[in-house]
């Protein structure tokens, strides 16, 4: 599995709704516009939730990868 380069990594392993979304919202403000945040999560609900979060906030969900029970998201800060 090849991963995009990330400017910041947020590990939400073991955390359930709504924590991955809340922590992602905080972390995206800690990188510059155009930079990439990697989110690692194990809650399957995070997959549709990150899609919704991306649509609602306008930040880009670049990709979602699955490795066993872990989901890896890359998000680009857009504004």
């Amino acid at each position: 599995m090849t991963l995009l380069n990330a400017d910041k990594v947020l590990d939400c392993t073991g955390m359930l709704c709504p924590v991955p979304v809340v922590k992602t919202a905080k972390a995206i403000r800690e990188i510059a516009v155009g930079q990439v945040l990697r989110l690692i999560a194990t809650d399957p609900g995070a997959v549709p939730d990150m899609q919704a979060w991306s649509r609602q906030t306008g930040h880009e969900l670049i990709d979602t990868q699955t490795e066993g029970n872990t989901f890896i998201f890359h998000l680009r800060r857009k504004k």
């Binding site: 955390m15 709704c17 709504p18 924590v19 979304v21 809340v22 919202a25 609602q56 906030t57």
Partner: protein, 174 residues
């Protein structure tokens, strides 16, 4: 965007009317998730929901009495046992100490699964700028005072909430 102004963020208006441990979760989960999406959020705490504004949340409890849909399961022990609903007679549920036991079981189960506590969820809401409005009328009725509430709580009445809700995209009563 709000209903009437496209330059304003999407708006969520919640009423939290229940103070039991189980029903404490939905308003704080929805509010924090919405605020994390950049929404403008207010929660109006009324009746038993006012207890969720208190600094000390330790009194929040849950009872399976009169709530037959509530699963009663062990948060520890062999896997098979944890997946089994405990056949507890209703009469037993009314005994002293049963609420405490049921509450502890729920707290332990939630902790085992990785769910945040109500206090943690509320703190997320505060950090994200969720407006918390305590209902003046029910405060008077039940004898709540503002000094027992967390900092930043506004006090208002039905009109205060309805004015905010009049421009909301999503409104819910919990």
């Amino acid at each position: 965007m709000s209903q009437s102004d496209p330059n304003q963020p999407t708006r969520l208006a919640l009423i939290a009317s229940k103070g039991t441990l189980d029903w404490a979760y939905p308003p704080f989960i929805l509010a924090s998730a919405a605020a994390a999406m950049g929404w403008d959020v207010a929660i109006f705490f009324t009746f038993y929901g006012l207890t969720l504004l208190q600094k000390d949340l330790s009194a929040a409890s849950v009872s399976p009495l009169g709530n037959p849909a509530m699963p009663m399961r062990l948060p520890f022990g062999p896997d098979l046992l944890q997946k089994m609903d405990l056949p507890i007679p209703t009469a037993l549920m009314s005994l002293p100490g049963f609420n405490v036991a049921a509450t502890n079981l729920m707290k332990q189960t939630f902790a085992n699964k990785g769910v945040s506590t109500v206090g943690e969820l509320r703190e997320m809401c505060v950090d994200l700028g969720v407006r918390m409005i305590g209902c003046q009328m029910t405060m008077d009725v039940f004898g709540f005072t503002k000094d027992t509430f967390i900092d930043g709580v506004e006090i208002g009445g039905a009109a205060t909430f309805l004015e905010f809700a009049s421009d909301a995209n999503v409104s819910m009563f919990v």
